[in-house]
Every structure is written in structure tokens, then in C-alpha cells.
């Protein structure tokens, strides 16, 4: 073996692999093994159950929608925080991290209290007959909440390093402000925006703590897939829970791969895209 100049290769790699193997890979292997116990017929039966389908639809559909909402709002907030100077900017900037830092259970009960029909916002929205808490809209709201910082925090450094000369160039060529934004800035931000979208998506798909309080967990209507897993566990249906877990994992991976491919496509003009 080649001699290494810096010490600790064997021990650091060995330790990292062992730790990762014991903490992450072995348990995931148990998941795959347990899920395989259910068999193809069992899996089809599980997936064809309307309740499972509805839960998966809500988890993935809701997460996609929430990530899209976050992409738009996140872009706006990141833009304002990077480009404009206004009193309290630093405070609001720090506030963006709240969904990262606030434990999900706390966020869950706070959002529920706010948006419940007797809550501050919920009561007001109820006069417009908009029901947020204990409805699919509440699930979406919680998903937007937990995924929000991802888009802003991935966009910010890129926005800061964006070459302003390009904007000036566009303007000197006669582009209007919004034309510059749509034709020059947005395409340059697209890969980063997609990354933020993917991170927010991944987070929202698996979110549990903040969602279950506000969702109301009505079967077929506002029940998310992770909750279904918990219920199966409580009924000691380990194989069913494992199978649903594997399906969710696979779904997430496929989504992430798709987003990664999109991202690669959108950075095709940069060096890393070659």
C-alpha cells in the first residue's frame, strides 16, 4: 500500500465506516429485510388500499406543492434579504432559520393553535370559509413551514456572488428590469433554486412532527404516509410498516434523482455541467 504522508487514514476511515454501518446501514438493511417479508402480493395489496394511496398522494403531492410554494416565496425573501437594505434586516435574516431550530412538535402545536377555527388566524380565515387546521390545507401549511429555510439558505450565497456586471450588461443592451430578471437572473439561479426545491421537498415528504397536529389525521383526507407507518407499528404490523417505509424511501430517492438530473441539465453551461 502507498504510504500516506498525513496520519490517521486507517483509523479515521475505519471508524467512520464502522459507525455508519452500525448506525445507518445495518438498520436500513433490517428495513429492507423486514419489508421483503411481506411479498409481492402483500405489497400490491398494501399499495392498492385506498387509504394507503390517499396517504401517499397527500404526502408526495403536498410536498411537491409545498416545495413549489417555497421556491417562489424563498426566492422573494432571499432576494429582498440580499439585495435590499432596510431596518431589521439582520433580525429577519436570522429568523429564517426558525423552522430549522424550532422542534417540530412545538411548531406543530403553535401552527395548530393559530390556524384552528378558534385561533387568531383560523377564526379570521373561517369567515371566508377557508379551513386550514384539520384539513389538507393545514398539511400543506406545515410542509411549507418546515421546508422554508432550505430555499432561502441555498439561494442566499449564490445571489450574493452573482455578477452584477451581467445585469448591467443586460440593461445596457436595452433590457427592462423584469426582462433582465426573467431572462438573465432567473436562468442563472435555476440550478440553485432546484437544489433548494429538492431539499425542501425531501424534508416535507418525510415530515411528521409539525404535520400530525394540524392535519387532524382524517383517513382518506388529511392522513400522511408517515402517520400510517406509525399506526401500522402500533398494530404490530411490522412488515406492513417496513414495506410502506421502503416505498416512501424509494419514492424519495426517485424524486431526488430526477431533481439531480434536472439540476445537471440546468448547469450544462458551467464547468461542472460538462
Amino acid at each position: 500500500m502507498r504510504r500516506h504522508v498525513l496520519p490517521g487514514f486507517g483509523i479515521s476511515l475505519g471508524y467512520a465506516l464502522t459507525y455508519l454501518g452500525l448506525i445507518v446501514l445495518l438498520p436500513l438493511a433490517a428495513l429492507a429485510w423486514k419489508a421483503s417479508g411481506i411479498g409481492v402480493a402483500g405489497l400490491l395489496h398494501l399499495l392498492s388500499s385506498p387509504r394507503t394511496l390517499a396517504a401517499l398522494r397527500l404526502s408526495f403531492g403536498g410536498a411537491l406543492l409545498a416545495a413549489a410554494v417555497n421556491a417562489v416565496i424563498g426566492l422573494l425573501v432571499a432576494w429582498v434579504l440580499v439585495r435590499y437594505r432596510f431596518p431589521g434586516r439582520r433580525l429577519f435574516d436570522a429568523l429564517v432559520d426558525l423552522p430549522f431550530a424550532l422542534p417540530t412538535a412545538v411548531a406543530g402545536i403553535a401552527l395548530t393553535t393559530l390556524y384552528a377555527p378558534n385561533g387568531w388566524l383560523g377564526g379570521w380565515l373561517a369567515t371566508w370559509s377557508i379551513k386550514v387546521a384539520y384539513a389538507p390545507l393545514g398539511v400543506l401549511l406545515a410542509m411549507v413551514f418546515v421546508g422554508f429555510p432550505f430555499v432561502v439558505r441555498t439561494l442566499q450565497p449564490v445571489l450574493e456572488s452573482l455578477d452584477r456586471d451581467v445585469e448591467d450588461a443586460a440593461e445596457s443592451l436595452g433590457a427592462r428590469r423584469w426582462q433582465t430578471f426573467v431572462r438573465v437572473i432567473l436562468p442563472m439561479l435555476a440550478p440553485t433554486l432546484l437544489t433548494g426545491f429538492a431539499l425542501a421537498l425531501a424534508r416535507a415528504v418525510g415530515e411528521y412532527g409539525s404535520v400530525i397536529f394540524i392535519a387532524g389525521n382524517i383517513p382518506m383526507r388529511s392522513e400522511i404516509a408517515p402517520l400510517l407507518i406509525v399506526q401500522k407499528l402500533e398494530q404490530f404490523d411490522y412488515a406492513g410498516a417496513a414495506a410502506l417505509g421502503v416505498v416512501m424511501l424509494l419514492f424519495s430517492f426517485v424524486l431526488l434523482v430526477v431533481v439531480a438530473l434536472l439540476q445537471r441539465w440546468s448547469v450544462r453551461w458551467t464547468e461542472s455541467g460538462r
Binding site: 422573494l76 429582498v80 432559520d97 412538535a105 403553535a110 406509525v230 416512501m248
Partner: protein, 287 residues
Amino acid sequence: MSALVSARPVAWSRRLVRGALVLLAVGFLALFLLLPLATVFVEAFRQGAAIYLTSIRQHESLAAIRLTLLVAAIAVPLNLVFGVMAAWAITRFDFRGKALLGAFIDLPFSVSPVISGLVYVLLFGAQGWFGPWLDAHGVRIIFAVPGLVLATIFITLPFVARELIPLMQSQGSEEEEAARVLGASGWQMFFRVTLPNIRWALLYGVLLCNARAMGEFGAVSVVSGHIRGLTTTMPLEVEMRYNEYDFAGAFAVASLLALLALMTMALKTLLEWRYGNEIAAHAPGGH
């Protein structure tokens, strides 16, 4: 001349757009983030400070606080050591499967917390791989503290490594090589050169890791079994009280967690402000 005249309305409209955007963003942040945060404290004190203090002084609350601290005190140092080891191996050596290792380190971030708990139930639960053997030897992992610790370690595993890897990558190994050529031993090199260069990023990672470890809900809820006073961490205590319609109690415990979140955010902002360039990765090649 005409250019000067027409320039004014453009500037006006621009300022208008700018103001509208700022208002929109700030309004959203206030409504969407600040309001829920305020709700936690308002609800916690809705029935007065006396009820608040009583809720927190209850035996179950104190047990939950103790357990939360214990779990974090085990999980965070373990992930700290792992993070440094993994970052050292990945950024200082070339080996096959490096990218794969990096992907596996990030894996817990893309797994639902519920699944993170589930995998340990499948491993150590009554019907799990090692369940019967553990049962026969009288060891309890699921519905006990070890399960909580394991699930928390799983969830918070990437934090430290993720902070360190890009930073150490961008710093390169030249300073460590220089230390070696100058005669430093492995430990001397690590403690005199490597550690001082990554200390703030390390602290940053530990801060985030700790916040998540103390606040984790989904994963620990699956392995906890919700045994009051024994296997309920603070977030679980919040859930149980909320479900029992003890809103004041739920929000009282929640306010402590919110306080932790605020402290984390403040420290994080402080670190970024003071040591920003020692936390984030420098542009490659630059000094």
C-alpha cells in the same frame, strides 16, 4: 436633457417595486414565522406565570428535561467524533467509494424521521432481528433510553460532518503537510494545526446537532413507547400534554424548547457574523 427627465419616473417606479417587495417579504416572515413563535410564549403564559411555573416544576416535566439532556449529551459527542473522523478521511485521502461514503453520511437527512425510528424497532424490537436475543438477556432498547439515543444519533449524524467536509476541503492539506515537514507528530499536527483551523465550524456543527438532538420528535416518538417520566423527552412531553388537552402545560414545556431554538439561532448568527469566513468554505485556491 430628455434622458434626465425620463430617468426620474423610472427611479420612482423602481423604488416602489423595491418597497413593495420588502414589505411582502417582511410581512410573510412576520406572519409565517414570528407569529407561531409568539404564539408559543403567549399560550404558555395565558393562564399566568404561576400555572406556567407549576407546569414546568412537575415531576414529569423535570424528568423529560433530564432525559432530553441525557440523550443529547450522549448523541452529540458521538456524532462530533464521527464527524471529525469522517471529514478527515474524506478530505485528506483519496480512496475508492469516497463519493458513496459522502452520500451515505447525508442519507439520514433524506429519510423520514418516522422511518429513522422504525428501522431500530425492526432491529431491536420484539419482532426484530436482535429482539429475541436481547429479550432473553434482559436488555431493553426499544421503548427505553438506548432506543431514544440510537434514533437521535441516526437523525443528527450528518450535522458535524456536513459542516466540516466543505471547509476542510477548501482549506486543503498544505498546512498539515507543512506541520509534518517541520517535524510535528500526528497529535501535534491535529491539535496545533487542524483543530484551530476548524474550531468555529466544529462549534457551529455541534450547535445545530444539539438543537436537533434536543428537539427531535418523529424518530424518538416511534421508539419511545411514551412511558411518562421514563421515556418521554421534552418534545414527547409536549405532545402528550397537548393530546390530553393540557394546553398550558404543553406550551410551557414547548416554550423551553422554543427558548432553546432562539438561543441556538442567536449563537448561530453570532458565529456567522464573527467567524463567518472560518465557518464557510473559502473559494478554492484562495487564501
